[in-house]
């Protein structure tokens, strides 16, 4: 009986133990910070804009695919003819979910999404740099839409704020997106610091000049030269930028602040040892997928021929040829191999050059984990700005004034000034000459796609320079099909005509 009482007591105690041990159902995630508790300080916002810059280095964008796609879609680059991967370059109807197209779309909208987190969350954060940070994010939104419009046209998804899972953005009407990004840049320009006002450690952040140059490009793309002119003039007069003495220095891993870079994407110079494989550019511009490179794109023959049109003041070939192309006369090695090694295995046997500009030469032999190199990619180069300024002045009827800026670019390349080589060109002749100048100065820098569109030349007639355009269908192929997966997921969107 005593035993029994004891046990009863123990039982009662165990019951008490029971009641007091109730498990809590509200459990905090111990692994990471939640969205609701973030976005409180200026530093949070700065980290946010860093993530938005990071989007530039996504593989769908400047890490690799975007230069390949935009070069392939224009007449200065071509991909292999029998691979579905490159079907867009042949303007064929293709499964629009293929990697190249889908990731281009996803990653630009990711950049927009990350930027709008900064723009929207910043409105409730105090701090002296908040406005500048928000302005940088606005620049990035504009940069994304500028590209998206060029690839997919204007009637794409209209995103102008943070998106939640329940948001299905509307289809933008003509003009709406241009209007949005013009406004964003006009808001950003007065808030942004000049390039020289950033410390060296901040090199790579969007400056006032970056935003002005982008806005000028956006205006020019819409033939609004009048609006573009003061912006470009302001950049030229700001003395923030200058042409480097050596053209080639723009495309090497020089580890210094480049005064010619108006906006630059910084890639890691020391390779993957520091971080994961990201943040270093991949090798889409190599001649072939050899030695750990991808070899997606080769220049069209017309690019090579453009360089052969004119010798420099010393009677030598245009010095920009060796920097831009890996060609029959190249004396430099491509990943330690001479031209004669590569030539028989070019992806497209009818083309005897490869892009050398922005192709990486760093490579660990035998171990194919390091495809990528660390040369910074200059998205807006001062030489480009000068040529755009010349084009704008010419469009505004100020052809003679325009000569000055072309001359600056040519003289740096040891070419005779245009003002002495071809003085007195008419407006149309000058534009034709500018088209040539842009090829020899900027090929391999992903400008040609936009140039063709701006000049009204993006049509089947380019087939004379790039056979891929033989299958270009005027009225359809100017813009690419919106990825089908996006149409499936957002019924507000409509496929572009003809697809």
């Amino acid at each position: 009986m005593i035993m029994s009482k004891k046990i009863t007591k123990v039982l009662i105690l165990s019951l008490l133990f029971n009641v007091t041990s109730c498990f809590e159902l509200e459990l905090e995630n111990p692994n990471t910070v939640s969205e609701a508790s973030f976005w409180k300080t200026e530093n949070d916002l700065f980290q946010g804009v860093i993530a938005a810059y990071d989007a530039l280095q996504l593989d769908g964008l400047y890490l690799g695919n975007l230069p390949v796609v935009l070069t392939g879609l224009s007449d200065d680059g071509t991909g292999e003819s029998t691979n579905e991967f490159y079907a867009p370059f042949r303007f064929k109807i293709f499964n629009s979910n293929i990697y190249l197209s889908e990731y281009l779309w996803l990653h630009f909208y990711a950049m927009i999404g990350r930027s709008y987190q900064v723009i929207d969350k910043g409105s409730s954060i105090e701090g002296e740099n908040v406005k500048n940070i928000q302005a940088e994010a606005k620049f990035l939104v504009a940069l994304a839409y500028f590209n998206l419009i060029a690839v997919y046209g204007e009637n794409i998804a209209f995103v102008d704020r943070i998106q939640e899972a329940s948001d299905f953005p509307k289809r933008a009407e003509n003009g709406e997106l241009y209007n949005l990004i013009e406004n964003l840049l006009n808001e950003a320009i007065p808030e942004l610091r000049l390039a020289s006002e950033y410390s060296e450690a901040d090199y790579g952040r969007a400056s006032k000049g970056s935003a002005q140059a982008l806005l000028a490009k956006i205006y020019m793309q819409q033939q609004k030269f009048e609006e573009a002119e003061p912006l470009l003039m302001d950049i030229v007069n700001s003395n923030e930028y200058e042409l480097l003495l050596s053209f080639a220095d723009n495309f090497s891993e020089n580890n210094t602040v480049n005064k010619e870079a108006v906006f630059v994407i910084n890639f890691l110079h020391d390779g993957p040892a520091i971080e994961s494989n990201f943040h270093v550019r991949h090798q889409g511009f190599s001649p072939r997928e050899k030695l750990g490179t991808y070899g997606d794109i080769q220049p069209t023959q017309f690019v090579y021929e453009s360089f052969l049109q004119e010798l420099d003041v010393d009677g030598n070939p245009d010095p920009r040829l060796d920097v831009t192309l890996f060609h029959p006369g190249s004396t430099e090695l491509f990943i330690d191999q001479p031209y004669s090694w590569w030539e028989p295995q070019f992806r497209n046997p009818e083309i005897n050059t490869a892009y050398f500009k922005y192709s990486e030469q760093e490579f660990i032999d035998g171990f194919a984990t390091k495809f990528d190199g660390g040369t910074d990619f200059i998205l807006i180069r001062y030489a480009d700005v000068l040529l755009l300024y010349a084009e704008t002045l010419n469009e505004m009827g100020k052809t003679s004034e325009a000569y000055n800026y072309v001359d600056l670019v040519r003289q740096r390349a040891n070419m005779e000034p245009l003002s002495t080589a071809q003085p007195g060109l008419s407006k149309d002749q000058f534009l034709e000459q500018l088209k040539h100048e842009r090829v020899v100065e900027l090929s391999g820098e992903v400008t040609r796609f936009f140039d063709l569109k701006r000049w009204g030349m993006y049509n089947a007639s380019n087939a004379i320079r790039d056979p891929n355009f033989e299958t270009f269908v005027n009225g359809r192929s100017e813009i690419q099909p919106i990825p089908q997966s996006e149409l499936d997921l957002n019924s507000n969107l409509i496929q572009n005509p003809g697809y």
């Binding site: 293709f94 450690a201 090199y203 171990f367």
Partner: protein, 1024 residues
């Protein structure tokens, strides 16, 4: 005990003067020695009677002249004893073999089988144990109507179990209840330890388990000690295993002819390895290199049971070992169990269950299936992707293994022999599962039970590989990865129950509060490149490279309040109602709690006076309705997090040199704060028939229900801002689910010849009735391009071009001039697909054929990836000392997509593989399969009904022939031979028609995983 005795004595003294009466006392036990309380003891032809007490004792006054006593108890056969001059009558009651009287565990209590009103399968564990398997659950395959088990031959793998089909997108595992402990993971229990298995199939039966019961509940009860002298049982089985099937493949010359034609047809230069300069002496049979291995497996089991007046104990120790039927993998498990119980006082019992397990799996990289172990290909794909012209060993290669060569013999497959040599992986698991409990009978019929349980373990995974080359133009670094995790769940249960019989009414009530808390901690480390090829010291500390680490922890908790009421009148009318309220930490506070009710009833019509069908002993109708839940999501999934990591991630390098600046942004995995329980509302109608004096038993169930709020990872448009498509879980989808199950058993003895026959058959089907946002199709990364989840259709139906053969010259001549297939004009020998749809000038689908075959537009929804019928039958024969059992099992009405053929005849992978022997492509005017074409997107290389095959099969799953050898010194000595997966009848051309699709969305796609193995065994069973 003592008290009872005193009481008895007192009674005797008190009644002594009445000389015309005397007292009979005794004890009633069952065949296994357990005392039986509550037995009716009746003096025949009189009104005097009594019942046995808690210890099975009784005493009864009888007239001096005696008579006979009748002993009756539910579930036992009636006994009648002539008293004569005896004063003590001890009786052993035999269990009534009528199955309806069996006592079964139904969750938080027991019930007589005949009283059950839901769909509860009581599994015959004796039959189960004839199948050879490391886990009790694998042995359920084909045994229970409505329960499908897909097993694999991979050492250490546990079969995948589904009850009434897959209804959810994230998790379809049933809930396991092992001696009262709830777990969603298959417990991998030693089959010998299991006393009973009950399966709660319908919502009315399983609702007592509320939020986790929607996939059904498997209740496993382990063995207890039996009263009596210690009994020792030793069982040993040794077997040999082998992968039984092969696919006939092309040899080197045949391969070269096709691959050359594929290049010619695409206008691509021939690969030289297939052209002139290949070594005709190299003709590797990769399948045989990988599969030709006979593996040894054995199982040793020792069990001891014992019991006394107050205590009982069951102890076992088990060793299970299984080598891989491909070279390399090996599984070993050592497990022990101790179950004991002790009666502290007359009404307080304490006890415990505990099992400890330790297992190791030595693996082969990739062997779990495609894409497992990072980039390493599964050996079951490598066998078909490797080319006959590649030698196994090739000294001219970096590591000496033959690999694909660009431009000569192209394949991206890893050399599987190289993988086995260079890549090693090991996992070790230690598991603990057990509980302690106290049962307290407060007053008669009112019981309180408290239990505290623990389920958890440690696991340690390690893999490493030497540097080298095992794949075309790819060298790999050395590497080492180690992951450790610990995982524990604590359970607390307080239960109170009351049972009372008054007149013809029988009532039982149960209420309980349960709590469960789990935590998991993970730590991982890896190093790439830090090892030289001579090292034998594969430890992180020895790495000369950098080491990356990661760690995380998660916690979860569930609290539940539950209750149940069972009532029956006169064993004729039954009603049962249950209610459970569950709260879970997985959901936001406003969605945290949910109530799961159920009600069911039964009517034994054969007990009615008007029922007069002589050959039917028992006829019962059952019906029930219940609501149960499921939550196939992880922890904390209702809050969106911020991505911010020290390296990589969303950082950016500002400045001219490489300085990484920390970035932060919303995680791409957007979360949905509104997520809540998934829910099944189901109606079940059943019938039980017993006839031929209990020899034939039939049960049938029909169910229909709605599965609502199914959590689907609904992909969001890219405009939401995620770099990979963000697919938050949303309670988006509703299904209708219905089906039927029948099972029957028949047994009979004719002298020394005994035979029994059991059979079961089931059917289940589903149909999507709602998708969120008015969508008609669910899209997402989990859904293959070959299957679809569409409104109005079964989940995972095939979505394929309708293949019609190849174009003949007449066909081509008859085509309109602008007819195209994937944008190209078809030629003779090209694949012919049915034109089913078209687009108008605005790009919208019209439903009208447009003379253009396109992969995007012309695919049709077709086929039946889920079997229409799943069945099994078992025959047991016994004559004198010999017994034989034969178990057949199969499915019918299933279409499967032969991914071996689609891989090799290039729908999946353009001419980078070998080809099957019966592939007959159109070359030089001959052939019945489409013209080979190297261009992967070409019309001849598309997913189509060409690869759909009949997936029906009938398998001689198991036989066992045994002999019981008469022996004086041993209680039992039995020898047996048995075979498993002995014969399969199927027209399917893949390796094994028994497979589970990779996901619920791809139920009919063969994942090319480890096939079932054929096993032959010898066994010995001794009891003494």
């Amino acid at each position: 005990m003592k008290n009872v005795f005193l009481l008895g004595l007192f009674t005797i003294i008190l009644t002594f003067p009445t000389l015309s009466q005397r007292i009979i006392t005794g004890k009633i036990i069952s065949a296994d020695g357990t005392e039986i309380p509550g037995v009716n003891v009746l003096l025949k032809d009189s009104n005097s009677g009594t019942i046995t007490d808690i210890n099975g004792n009784y005493s009864i006054k009888i007239p001096e002249e005696g008579g006979s006593l009748e002993f009756t108890y539910i579930g036992f056969q009636k006994e009648e004893i002539e008293i004569g001059s005896k004063s003590i009558i001890d009786i052993t009651l035999d269990e009534d073999l009528t199955e309806l009287k069996e006592i079964v565990v139904v969750g938080y209590g027991t019930q007589r089988k005949g009283d059950i009103t839901g769909a509860v399968a009581v599994v015959n564990t004796d039959q189960l144990k004839k199948s050879y398997s490391a886990s009790i659950t694998d042995q359920l395959q084909g045994r229970v109507a409505g329960v499908t088990v897909t097993t694999s031959g991979k050492p250490g793998s546990i079969g995948d179990i589904k009850i009434r089909g897959a209804s959810f997108f994230g998790g379809n595992n049933p809930l396991y209840v092992i001696d009262g402990i709830l777990t969603g993971d298959n417990p991998n229990l030693n089959p010998s330890d299991v006393a009973s298995v009950q399966i709660l199939k319908d919502a009315s039966a399983s609702a007592i388990y509320g939020s986790r019961a929607a996939n059904g509940v498997i209740i496993i009860t382990t063995k207890k000690g039996v009263k009596g002298e210690p009994k020792i049982n030793f069982n040993s089985t040794v077997g040999m295993q082998r992968i039984p099937s092969r696919i006939d493949l092309k040899n080197n010359f045949e391969w070269a002819e096709i691959v050359n034609a594929a290049h010619d047809n695409a206008g691509a230069p021939r690969v030289s390895g297939a052209n002139e300069d290949f070594d005709e002496n190299v003709n590797t049979d990769w399948q045989s290199e990988i599969f030709d291995n006979t593996a040894i497996t054995y199982n040793l089991n020792l069990a001891i049971t014992a019991g006394g007046e107050k205590s009982s104990v069951y102890f076992s120790i088990n060793k299970f070992s299984q080598d891989g039927a491909i070279k390399g993998p090996q599984f070993n498990r050592l497990s022990t169990r101790l179950n004991s119980e002790y009666k502290l006082t007359k009404n307080i019992t304490v006890g415990q269950h505990l099992t400890l397990g330790s297992s190791t799996i030595d693996g082969v990289a990739g062997a779990s299936g495609p894409d497992d172990d990072g980039d390493i290909i599964s050996p079951f794909s490598a066998a078909y992707e490797m080319l006959p012209v590649i030698p196994i060993f090739d000294t001219s290669q970096v590591s000496g293994y033959g690999v694909g060569q660009i431009g000569t013999a192209q394949t991206w497959s890893e050399n599987p022999i190289g993988v086995m040599d260079l890549y090693k992986n090991f996992s070790e698991n230690t598991s603990i599962l057990g509980d302690i409990y106290v049962e307290y009978e407060i007053i008669k019929g009112l019981n309180y039970r408290f239990s505290l349980g623990l389920n958890g373990g440690f696991s340690n995974f390690k893999s490493y590989n030497r540097a080298g080359q095992i794949r075309m133009s790819t060298n790999h670094f050395s590497g080492l990865t180690e992951n450790r995790s610990e995982n524990f769940e604590v359970f607390i249960e307080n239960r109170i129950s009351y049972e009372r019989t008054f007149g013809k009414n029988k009532l039982s009530i149960m209420g309980a509060i349960t709590e469960q808390k789990g935590r998991e901690k993970v730590l991982g480390s890896s190093s790439i490149g830090g090892y030289d090829n001579e090292t034998n010291f594969w430890q992180l500390s020895n790495s000369t490279g950098s080491i990356a680490s990661n760690g995380s922890e998660t916690q979860s908790a569930i609290r539940s309040y539950l209750g149940r009421l069972n009532y029956n009148f006169d064993q004729k009318y039954f009603i049962s109602a249950a209610l459970r309220n569950d709260g879970s930490s997985k959901f936001a506070p406003e969605n945290r709690w949910s109530i799961f009710p159920s009600v069911s009833g039964g009517w034994v019509i054969s007990e009615e006076n008007f029922f007069n069908v002589p050959f039917i002993d028992n006829l019962k109708f059952r019906g029930g309705y219940g609501v149960v839940g499921n939550a196939s999501i992880g922890d904390y999934e209702y809050t969106t997090t911020i991505d911010r990591t020290a390296t990589g991630g969303v950082n950016y390098n500002l400045g001219p040199t490489s300085i990484s600046t920390l970035g932060a942004t919303r995680s791409d995995m957007l979360r949905n704060a509104d997520i809540s329980w998934e829910e099944l509302k189901e109606t079940n109608l059943g019938i039980d028939i017993e006839t031929l004096d209990g020899q034939l038993f039939f049960t049938g169930d029909y169910y229909v229900g709605d599965v609502n709020k199914i959590l689907a990872q609904v992909p969001l448009p890219g405009t939401v801002g995620a770099i990979e498509r963000s697919s938050p879980s949303i309670n988006a989808v509703s299904l209708e689910r219905k089906g039927w199950e029948v099972a029957m058993s028949f047994r009979k003895s004719a002298g020394e010849f005994k035979y029994a026959f059991t059979a079961n058959m089931s059917h289940t089907e589903n149909k999507i009735t709602d998708l969120n946002y008015g969508l008609t199709e669910l899209v997402g990364t989990d859904i293959s391009s070959k299957t679809t989840a569409r409104l109005g259709y079964e989940v995972g139906k095939f979505y394929l071009l309708d293949y019609q053969g190849i174009y003949t010259a007449e066909d081509i001549a008859a085509l309109p001039a602008d007819f195209t297939v994937q944008g190209e004009t078809p030629q003779v020998g090209d694949a012919k697909y049915r034109d089913t749809n078209g687009r108008n000038e605005n790009g919208f689908l019209t439903g009208i054929p447009d003379g253009k075959i396109s992969r995007d537009d012309d695919r049709i929804i077709t086929g039946s990836p889920i079997p229409k019928i799943v069945y099994g039958f078992n025959i047991d024969l016994a004559y004198k000392l010999f017994d034989l059992s034969i178990f057949l099992q199969g499915i019918s009405g299933r279409d499967v997509y032969n991914t071996y053929y689609s891989l090799m005849t290039t729908e999946d992978f353009g001419h980078f593989t070998n080809y099957p022997q019966d592939y007959d492509p159109y070359i030089d005017g001959n052939g019945s399969d489409p013209r080979p074409h190297f261009f992967q997107g070409h019309g001849n290389n598309l997913e189509s009904t060409k690869f759909l095959e009949n997936g029906a099969y009938l398998r001689l799953n198991n036989f066992q022939l045994g002999v019981n050898i008469p022996q004086n010194r041993l209680e039992n000595l039995r020898l047996y031979v048995s075979g498993q997966n002995v014969l399969t009848f199927s027209s399917y051309r893949g390796l094994d028609p028994e497979f589970e699709g990779g996901s619920v969305f791809t139920p009919g796609l063969d994942p090319r995983s480890y096939p079932s193995v054929r096993t032959f065994m010898l066994g010995l069973d001794i009891t003494f």
